[in-house]
């Protein structure tokens, strides 16, 4: 059997503060962005995935970069790098946002949290080494930029997450989706948000590295909470229709093609009070006018064989009309699902699509995203 081994190339991987807990839990590790991360535990990806949808999964996402911006001009400065409204982001709220390039591409997809006295950005592990110099180079003179290196990051996701997290401190179960606050947990200053990347209700908790093990143990002691690895994190986010940087979006993807133009706040759009003023603003405005040539779509390959990333999508006449960027077997739907880019004129068309897999033509259906409905805790459903 020829396959990339789960343990391949992790000789110089960096460990998170929770490494020994993963080891004790029987994790199989994988190298990801220079980190040695738990790929799966003895339950396996399928069960971990289904457990998260039915109960709650605990994810170690300490590999993600966390960056604090301080100083009076921090929000104005950050607005120069993203189409998202940062100035009016209220204290106690966070937003999903994109850092854009001058070519109209995506440098990273991030979360911006307003903690009142500072903004905290959570950036992709694989992009931290690019984003940090970008921030320092572009806005390092306008605000103080500090990498929060000594923090672990835990995500608790699933319908049982709220009851589990509620045992940590009063009032946490009332937090609305995308709210964020600081909290003292047994003397450890933590940042907690009602958010995640699985489509489920849940929380993300940034905790000092020295206190991370105690917090993880407390959460694992709660009913329905189990470790879940990066394998299931990927299948959960794809079912939720969420992008993986490096697969579904990158520096060459336009914000519009990715369908992430909803992150372009009204106030920053043409005619808005603070229109433009971010890298690629004109390109994005032009694209919105003209429409994108390609569109990110959900795809349903027929049969049971998953279609993987970089598989070409073919039109009726056999010409290439798109490409799969993420594809795997959906544990919830018990069938292959995929996400990819399709020529805009083929998105709504009824003409059948297919892909070649090991010499066979596989019919590919179009699907609305997400594949599995989101279950975020939206109070009064305000965004």
């Amino acid at each position: 059997m020829t396959q990339p081994s789960a343990d391949e190339g992790i000789a110089d991987g960096r460990n998170t503060p929770l490494y020994d807990l993963h080891l004790q839990a029987g994790a199989q590790f994988t190298e990801f962005a220079g980190w040695r991360m738990p790929l799966r535990y003895p339950d396996g990806t399928l069960r971990e995935h289904l457990h998260t949808r039915a109960h709650a999964g605990l994810f170690d996402v300490s590999h993600m970069g966390q960056v604090a911006l301080r100083g009076a001009r921090r929000a104005v400065a950050l607005e120069a790098l993203t189409p998202t409204d940062v100035i009016d982001l209220p204290a106690g709220r966070q937003r999903y946002a994109l850092l854009t390039s001058h070519e109209g591409g995506i440098i990273d997809d991030i979360v911006i949290a307003n903690l009142g006295e500072e903004l905290v950005l959570v950036v992709n592990a694989a992009r931290t080494a690019t984003v940090l110099p970008h921030l320092i180079g572009e806005i390092g003179r306008a605000c103080e930029i500090r990498r929060l290196d000594d923090l672990a990051l835990l995500a608790v996701q699933g319908p049982a997450a709220s009851a589990a997290v509620a045992t940590l401190a009063a009032g946490l179960e009332q937090m609305p989706f995308q709210s964020v606050r600081t909290i003292d947990l047994d003397g450890a200053p933590c940042r907690i948000s009602r958010s995640g990347y699985t489509g489920e209700d849940g929380y993300e908790i940034a905790v000092p590295a020295a206190d991370a093990r105690d917090l993880a143990r407390r959460l694992l002691a709660q009913a329905g909470v189990r470790w879940v690895g990066l394998g299931a994190r990927d299948s959960l986010r794809l079912e939720a229709g969420l992008c993986l940087y490096g697969n579904d979006i990158d520096e060459h993807t336009s914000v519009l093609a990715a369908g992430l133009d909803w992150t372009w706040s009204a106030v920053r759009r043409p005619g808005g009070a603070r229109a433009g003023g971010f890298p690629g603003a004109e390109e994005l405005a032009d694209a919105l006018e003209a429409g994108a040539a390609m569109r990110r779509v959900g795809l349903l390959p027929e049969g049971r064989a998953p279609l993987r990333e970089n598989t070409g999508l073919l039109g009726e006449d056999g010409s290439i009309v798109g490409r799969i960027t993420s594809g795997l077997f959906s544990p919830t739907l018990e069938r292959p699902i995929a996400m990819g880019y399709l020529r805009a004129d083929c998105v709504a068309a009824a003409a059948p699509l297919h892909a070649m897999l090991r010499g066979r033509a596989i019919a590919v259906g179009r699907a609305a995203l997400p594949f599995v409905p989101h279950r975020y805790h939206r109070k009064s459903d305000k965004r």
Binding site: M1, A6, Q28, T45, F329, P336
Partner: protein
């Protein structure tokens, strides 16, 4: 029923009484792979070469090729894997078998590892 033989690519092979050989992937391989969600098997009658990637096993995240430890013609495939691919995880050396070949060069079997050698081989790559 003879002792199992093993390839360096983590396939097992068993010589049956009628001279055909049954092939599957090892317990080590299924553990490395994780949950098997799909298995693609060759057509009956197909001639395969030694080391040819004639079957595919897929987990949630990744596809892996299964190399034929010996050359031969495919005389049977495990059709139950189409609906129950998890058999590969549950019973890799039993109900999770992949296919049966009529070997064209039976001397290739002698070049495979016995169980003790395979165990030592797995220990060496586990480091």
């Amino acid at each position: 029923m003879s002792e199992l033989k093993y390839s360096r690519d983590h396939e097992w092979l068993r010589v049956e009484a009628d001279g055909t050989v049954t092939i599957g992937i090892t317990d080590y391989a299924q553990k490395e792979l994780g949950d098997v969600v799909y298995v693609e098997l060759p057509e009956i009658g197909r001639e395969v070469r030694q080391d040819e990637e004639a079957a595919v096993v897929e987990s949630v995240k990744a596809a892996s090729e299964v190399r034929m430890p010996v050359a031969g013609s495919v005389v049977a495939v495990n059709g139950t894997l189409a609906d129950n691919p998890e058999q590969v995880n549950v019973d890799p050396a039993g109900d999770g078998w992949f296919l049966r070949l009529k070997p064209s060069s039976p001397d290739q079997i002698a070049g495979l590892m016995n169980e003790a050698d395979y165990r030592a081989y797995v220990d060496s790559i586990r480091k």
